[in-house]
Amino acid sequence: MVDMHPKKRVEIVMEAPALHRLTDALDKAGVTGYTIVSALAGRGLSGAWSREGLAGDAGRMVIVICIVDAARADAVIAGVHKLLARQIGVVTMSDVQVIRADHF
């Protein structure tokens, strides 16, 4: 059996043009890594969008997935919150188990 260790999974749905600002903030918050996925379409309070046909970054959303240690989670969430306060987006956090604790 592989040992599992509890961590936090932070998932951020956000606007593509602000992505670099977010990853800079994550880098500063000391996270060990993150993975970005391009969302295809969506709807929220500010309406529906789709990336189809867009030649630029505006109007497109990305999902940033970041596994962090619980001890660092609050700081990460606070940093993300500050940055995205005025931006369109959704931030969620959940509990996960990872196999290599020293990686995070």
């Binding site: 990336r51 046909g53 030649a55």
Partner: protein, 329 residues
Amino acid sequence: MTSGFFDLAMQNILSPVVLFFVLGVGAALARSDLSIPEAIAKTLALYLMMSIGFKGGVEVAKTGLTAQMVRTAAAGIALSFAIPVVGFYLLRAISRLPAVDAAAVAAHYGSISIVTFVAATEALRGQGLPFEGHLVAVAAVMETPAILSALVLARRHAPSAADTREPIGPLLREIGLNGSVVMLLGSFAIGWITGPKGLEPVAPFLVDLFRGVLCLFLLDMGLVAGRGMRAGWKDLSAATLGFGIAMPILGALLAAALVPLTGLSAGGAAIFVTLAASASYIAVPAAMRIALPEARPSIYLTLSLGITFPFNLAIGIPLYQALAGFAVR
């Protein structure tokens, strides 16, 4: 602006390029699932930059660098700074739009639309009218100053919305180095370096395909514009809609006033005036999402892409050419 103008306008409106835009708008309004994948849309835009940049550079390689080019670029930069100021106060005067929205809209009109530029050059080519190749570079330098103007306006009139912690320097650097500007200026430089001999082997790709690819890109723009209209319509008052037609004409008039200083030919002046009249819909919206996130895209995108772009495409281009004709004489 008599029958010649109407002939030009009709010829323009019934060109495949404009009809494909109309097809796109129609398909989006009818909720067809017709769509161009994002990767293709992005590449079509890069292709257009590569093609017009390269061809512009080759033209400059033939004529060499002239004082006219420097004067035109200076005039373009001045317009890009000035138009947002005019636009902002006009919009505040005629509509109840909050200051942050007005500043964001104004930024779009100070910057330029490269597809409108292309459509204007196509119209000239159809008439056999030459224009200066360096206008491609002028278009590139007119992209960014407007954003600076708009940010200054927003910081003054909507201080809470215009985040003063966000430094302007990196933002301008980011915009100045955005992919399409680099592609345009880089291809321009390569065209200039390699000249007509360099163009020859790549001409089947960069020259011959150009108009067909443009049709596909305009179909895509129509689809995106139509989607935006469906969503954004409700946020726009009559005054705001009127601005989408009045502002390009105003921009054109300002540019026409500067034409005599540039020394441009009739064709070149038509392009220059069209640039001033055109509104950005790729680079500036992305910059606004960062610099003025509280400004509503439903307003600035619908105006720029849904009102001003089609107006310029169908009616504006022959109109600005006529205007430029007066200014040159």
